[in-house]
């Protein structure tokens, strides 16, 4: 396994992964005892993460030590983590407060399960110690505690997400500010590595569902549909239309990620609304499903009219949480048409705890009685706010269907999804001359969605091809699906992940491509059948998305949406049929996935393969991931009956995604099988923003305050963390900023090292640029880092702070340390002196106590003028040069010449001038290094 690149280049990015600690400094870890053999799971996980600096487990305090035991754990391993404080001296009144990450004390917004179980009170040892928790704050209090006293508190991991957590702490002692300290403790939960060591013999879960035949029987099944339990990819359901081939209406369930499936029949005995006895249903088709985070799985479809007293109904049944594999009561929803048909249902459940309709099941379908209404019924699985899924096992608890569409028309293929705020979105195909994908929305917070009045005017998402002035035919036989069911088949899902695209509404559909042929599929039932032809226009699949509302407009599909496959792409045929797109958002990370059938590998457009790719909202549309073919053999229905609505692939395909794994589900008629439901697992990297370092230091020409100001250059290192399920390879990136941001890049692109699952890496080359002199400032500017990998692209927001003050001029270069140019030098002498006495002269003492030096001494005697206003005379003494040994003082005598003696004598005799006769002695010393010192000394002269 390739280790992640060291992050030394990140420099001071201590926040993330820097400051590599030597392996020897790893905290105590029993797993390490096994290091000589196969790597332990923790070691594997650490290696996969690319993290090389194990967090400390010990933090010194002024009066003791804080310990985290252990400081690195395997995520989802249900380990305990202990915090403890032990005193190493007596403490009269001290407190340590440590703040836990909010996640640790919260619950999953999806499953409502708690992430961690944190004790309210801890254990103590010694008198005067308290340990407890209030909210996120863990508090260890010491009052009159003695050395050795300790307190501890335990956190039990129940699903704390993998990641690096920083826990700020603060130690304080009453009356001793000096003894306060604060810091951050670090704990890392590594994503477990699921690869078994080679030779371990264990099955690799990644390959359990590689192109797997789920139904695997002799019955022809089609129109497959699948749903995974949110946050639990081990449990999911696969439903099929069995083409009335006998054997009842069934689904297949797994609780072990596909290691095995259990076939579960749905009872045709219906609990009908307001009836004392059951109805005899005739279950056939149109599988639909939904799941809540607790593990309840709902499944349903159509019951055809079955004689007097048994009208056509939409049916729903349930597999109980957490792992039920046998359906309970089959509920027949209310119908209001009598003899009319109920058709094409789809369902969803509001899984957002913050939604006002949390736990509400929604089923939409079309009600046929001449004209068609798209209708909806709903039921609460959490009546009164308490989970009671069995509430919807009773037909009487479902609301009467209400019109979603205003009046009747030609509508079909309704689908429903719920946003994070509970907003309900419904889309459908209007196959009248309106010839469009349309939809509507209702907000349960402010509208009664169980009333037609709660639904407003439909919105057009896209208009469809109208080549030759006619709408797309209701029946469209094509070579690969001659029965005629190929259609626009719209579908909707909403991002509720809480990520950067939270609330984004995705709609997929199919459309004919103008100009791709010279004829057009058309199969009016009252006219002679028009068999499929290679000259027919071909199908394309599309995705559109918008934040907080339905996307699109009354414009053609290519104008409002992104093609999921461009004909000819990646070596495919120049003209292929691509249809039955379906999309699911992985609500655990916000990644959208789409799948579809395509004839791109068959020049005759007769056989199909099934494809999956990621969808990421991007500039001007969507970024598409690598095209992944998940079927391993071509499927071929082309020899089946034309034009009679033979099921072939049915009316739609399906995909779901959770925990970083996409689960495409499709119908397959490859050689040698009857027509079966297949599934696959798609693993992928998921790159999310991590720490960053904005360098505006003097080294790059900035002021180093960490805020980008006008004219200031910068260097940026951005870490990307791979929270997906496969390593990111071939990572390149380009940083762009809004034109209005006033940022200019000199280095806008960079590669990244391969990023292992759970690991974070920084850009290999720093992004560089500067801020314009007239750029808006004062608020953070959000840039966009467009990332490509060998498989999935990503669009990562990058925000940096800006300021309006001009960059602080770089401080003047620090002066070089002052050179001590002076030497220690003394010049001393008594005052007054009597130089006129016999050979007395003026005597001074010179000394260089720290180093040898040479000194030059000069003297000047000032003699006042005799006249009252006369000018004083300055008479120089003969200078002297002295070599002074270190620390050895030397005396020098300066004698006075006769002439000078006379002048001095005269001045000293005068009462007016006698006190003003002075000698000024000046000595300059120089040491061997050339350092100098000058001293002056004034000496009074007396007789």
């Amino acid at each position: 396994m390739k280790l992640a690149r060291p992050l030394a280049a990140i420099g001071t990015l201590a926040l993330a992964l820097a400051a590599a600690a030597p392996a020897a400094a790893l905290p105590d870890d029993p797993d390490r005892e096994q290091a000589a053999g196969n790597p332990t799971p923790l070691e594997q996980a650490r290696e996969e993460s690319g993290i090389q600096d194990a967090p400390r487990s010990r933090y010194d305090l002024p009066a003791g030590v804080l310990r985290l035991t252990p400081s690195e754990l395997l995520a989802a391993n249900q380990q305990d983590l202990d915090f403890s404080v032990t005193l190493d001296r007596d403490v009269a009144d001290g407190v340590l407060e440590l703040t836990l990450p909010s996640t640790w004390v919260g619950r999953s917004g999806v499953s409502e399960l708690r992430y961690g179980r944190v004790a309210e009170t801890g254990r103590v040892s010694g008198a005067g110690v308290e340990a407890g928790r209030g909210g996120r704050v863990v508090r260890f209090a010491f009052s009159g505690a003695v050395k050795g006293a300790s307190g501890s508190l335990k956190v039990a991991d129940e699903g704390i997400p993998a990641g690096r957590y920083e826990l700020p702490y603060h130690w304080s002692e009453a009356g001793s500010a000096a003894n306060s300290t604060e810091g951050k403790a670090t704990a890392i939960f590594y994503a477990p590595v699921r690869e078994q060591a080679e030779g371990a013999g264990a099955r690799d879960w990644r390959y359990l569902l590689r192109d797997t035949n789920v139904t695997n029987d002799t019955v022809t099944e089609s129109e497959t549909f699948g749903t995974a339990v949110p946050g639990n990819r081990q449990r999911f359901i696969v439903g099929v239309n069995n083409n009335n081939a006998g054997g009842g209406y069934n689904a297949w369930i797994t609780n072990n990620g596909g290691t095995s499936f259990t076939k579960a029949p749905v009872s045709p005995s219906l609990d009908a609304p307001a009836e004392s006895g059951p109805e005899a249903g005739d279950l056939c088709c149109d599988p639909m499903s939904a799941a809540d985070a607790a593990g309840n799985l709902w499944y349903g479809g159509v019951s055809k009219a079955n004689g007097a007293g048994n009208p056509s109904r939409i049916v729903v049944t349930r597999l109980a949480a957490p792992a039920g594999v046998a359906f309970g009561t089959t509920v027949g929803l209310r119908e209001r048409t009598g003899t009319g048909a109920q058709d094409k249902p789809m369902m969803t459940i509001d899984n957002s705890p913050s939604s006002p309709a949390f736990g509400r099941l929604y089923v939409v379908w079309d009600e046929v009685l001449g004209g068609i209404d798209i209708v909806m019924s709903q039921c609460d699985t959490r009546p009164g706010g308490v989970l009671n899924a069995a509430n919807c096992d009773n037909a009487d608890n479902w609301t009467a269907p209400i019109d979603v569409t205003p009046g009747t028309g030609s509508y079909i293929y309704a689908d429903v999804a719920v946003g994070p705020d509970g907003k309900v979105y419904v889309v459908w195909w209007d196959y009248s001359a309106t010839n469009a994908i349309r939809g509507d929305a209702c907000e349960p917070a402010s509208q009664n969605c169980a009333s037609a009045a709660g639904w407003g005017t439909p919105q057009t998402i896209a208009t469809l091809d109208a080549t030759s002035g006619t709408p797309i035919s209701f029946a469209c036989p094509i070579l690969a699906q001659p029965g005629g069911r190929a259609s626009p088949s719209p579908q909707v899902d909403v991002d509720r992940s809480g990520g950067s695209n939270n609330g984004r509404v995705y709609v997929t559909w199919g459309d004919l491509r103008a100009g791709s042929g010279t004829t057009k599929c058309n199969n009016p039932p009252s006219n002679p059948a028009q068999p499929p032809a290679a000259t027919h226009l071909s199908w394309d699949t599309f995705v559109a998305s918008a934040s907080g509302g339905l996307p699109g407009s009354a414009d053609p599909s290519p104008s409002v949406a992104t093609r999921l496959l461009t004909d000819g792409e990646a070596g495919g045929q120049a003209n292929s049929d691509d249809w039955f797109a379906w999309l699911a958002v992985d609500q655990t990370n916000g990644q959208a996935w789409a799948d579809f059938y395509s004839t791109r590998e068959d020049a005759e457009r007769k056989t199909t393969q099934f494809y999956v790719r990621s969808v990421t909202p991007g500039p001007g549309g969507h970024l598409l991931g690598a095209l992944r073919r998940v079927s391993s053999a071509p499927s071929n229905y082309s020899a089946f009956a034309c034009c009679g609505f033979g099921n072939d692939y049915g009316d739609y395909a399906s995909i779901d995604a959770t925990q970083g794994v996409a689960l495409p589900v499709w119908s397959d008629k490859r050689a040698g099988i009857a027509g079966e439901a297949f599934v696959d697992t798609v693993l992928s990297p998921f790159l999310a923003p991590d720490a960053q370092m904005l360098d505006d230091s003097r080294a790059v020409g900035g002021d180093g305050d960490g805020v980008l100001e006008r004219t200031e250059p910068f260097r940026l290192t951005k870490l990307l963390r791979n929270s997906g399920t496969a390593a990111a390879t071939g990572v390149t990136s380009t940083l762009t900023a809004p034109a209005t941001a006033g940022l200019t890049f000199t280095q806008a692109s960079s590669s990244y090292p391969d990023i292992a699952v759970g690991a974070a890496q920084g850009n290999a080359t720093a992004f560089t640029g500067s801020m314009a002199a007239d750029a808006p400032c004062g608020s953070p500017v959000t840039m966009s880092l467009q990332v490509t990998t060998a498989t999935e692209p990503a669009l990562v927001p990058v925000s940096i702070p800006t300021g309006c003050d001009p960059p602080t001029p770089p401080p003047a270069p620090p002066m070089p340390p002052p050179v001590d140019s002076s030497i220690v030098f003394w010049l001393k002498g008594a005052s007054p002196q009597r130089p006129l006495r016999k050979r007395a002269g003026i005597v001074v003492t010179l000394s260089c106590p720290q180093a040898s030096c040479r000194a030059t001494v000069k003297g000047t005697v000032t003699v006042p003028a005799r006249a009252r206003r006369g000018k004083a005379k300055k008479i120089s003494l003969r200078s002297a040069k002295v070599v002074l040994a270190k620390g050895r003082p030397a005396k020098r005598r300066f004698t006075v010449s006769k002439k000078l003696r006379g002048q001095i004598m005269r001045a000293l005799r005068s009462k007016r001038t006698r006190s003003n006769v002075k000698a000024l002695m000046t000595a300059t010393a120089v040491d061997a290094a050339g350092n100098k010192a000058t001293k002056k000394l004034t000496i009074k002269v007396r007789r």
Binding site: N243, N244, A245, G246, C284, C285, K304, S312, T337, T339, G340, A341, D343, K344, D366, V368, L369, G370, G371, I372, G407, T408, G409, S410, D430, Y431, S432, A433, T434, N435, A436, R438, T460, T463, L464, A466, G469, T470, P471, S473, F474, A475, G483, R485, N522, P524, P525, S526, N527, P528, A529, A554, A639, F640, A641, C643, G644, F645, G646, N647
Partner: protein, 178 residues
């Protein structure tokens, strides 16, 4: 076995089968007696968006000096979808007459079958081609006038059935022979 509703011209049965529903009170009438003949609709029930052609025809059973049947089409039928701009139906301006004495023409919503000095057996017809008329039931009032006198008023009905994709039997889904 081909499903019955695919047989050309199966009309009402086809439409009902397409929609997956049985007409509750029988299909709307396709024949309306007039003082001098009969108004016929080729189909009073059709599958929506099936490009079905509905032919309205008037045939005299006696001579008429100056007679005229005015049939008013639903407003929607002469419009285009405000969303897509596609017309709901393809409507000619003129129909066909069996002779110069019988004519059919359309002015806006009103289709006129005009007979001047017509003889017994003369007829005129007018075709409406569905191009996406929304599923539903439509009422088409008509009146027969001879000279200045209206003799008869009536209303015909046409049902456009919304499509339910029919469920085939296992046998019908089997591969065809080549």
């Amino acid at each position: 076995m081909r499903p019955r509703f695919l047989i050309a011209g199966a009309g009402c049965a086809a439409a009902a089968a397409w929609s997956g529903q049985a007409p509750a009170a029988g299909p709307p009438p396709t024949r309306f007696a007039l003082p001098a003949g009969v108004l016929r609709l080729s189909d009073s029930e059709v599958p929506a968006s099936s490009s079905a052609k509905i032919t309205f025809s008037v045939r005299l059973d006696r001579a008429v000096k100056d007679g005229r049947l005015a049939l008013t089409l639903p407003r929607l039928w002469i419009q285009r979808s405000p969303v897509s701009g596609v017309p709901y139906a393809k409507l000619p301006v003129h129909g066909r007459g069996s002779s110069g004495r019988a004519k059919a023409s359309r002015a806006a919503r009103v289709v006129s079958f005009a007979f001047m000095l017509a003889r017994d057996g003369d007829s005129a017809r007018f075709d409406v081609r569905d191009n996406g008329i929304p599923a539903g039931t439509y009422r088409l009032p008509f009146s027969w006038r001879e000279g200045a006198t209206i003799r008869v008023r009536g209303t015909s009905r046409v049902v456009f059935y919304g499509g339910q994709r029919p469920r085939l039997t296992a046998g019908a889904a089997a591969p065809r022979r080549r």
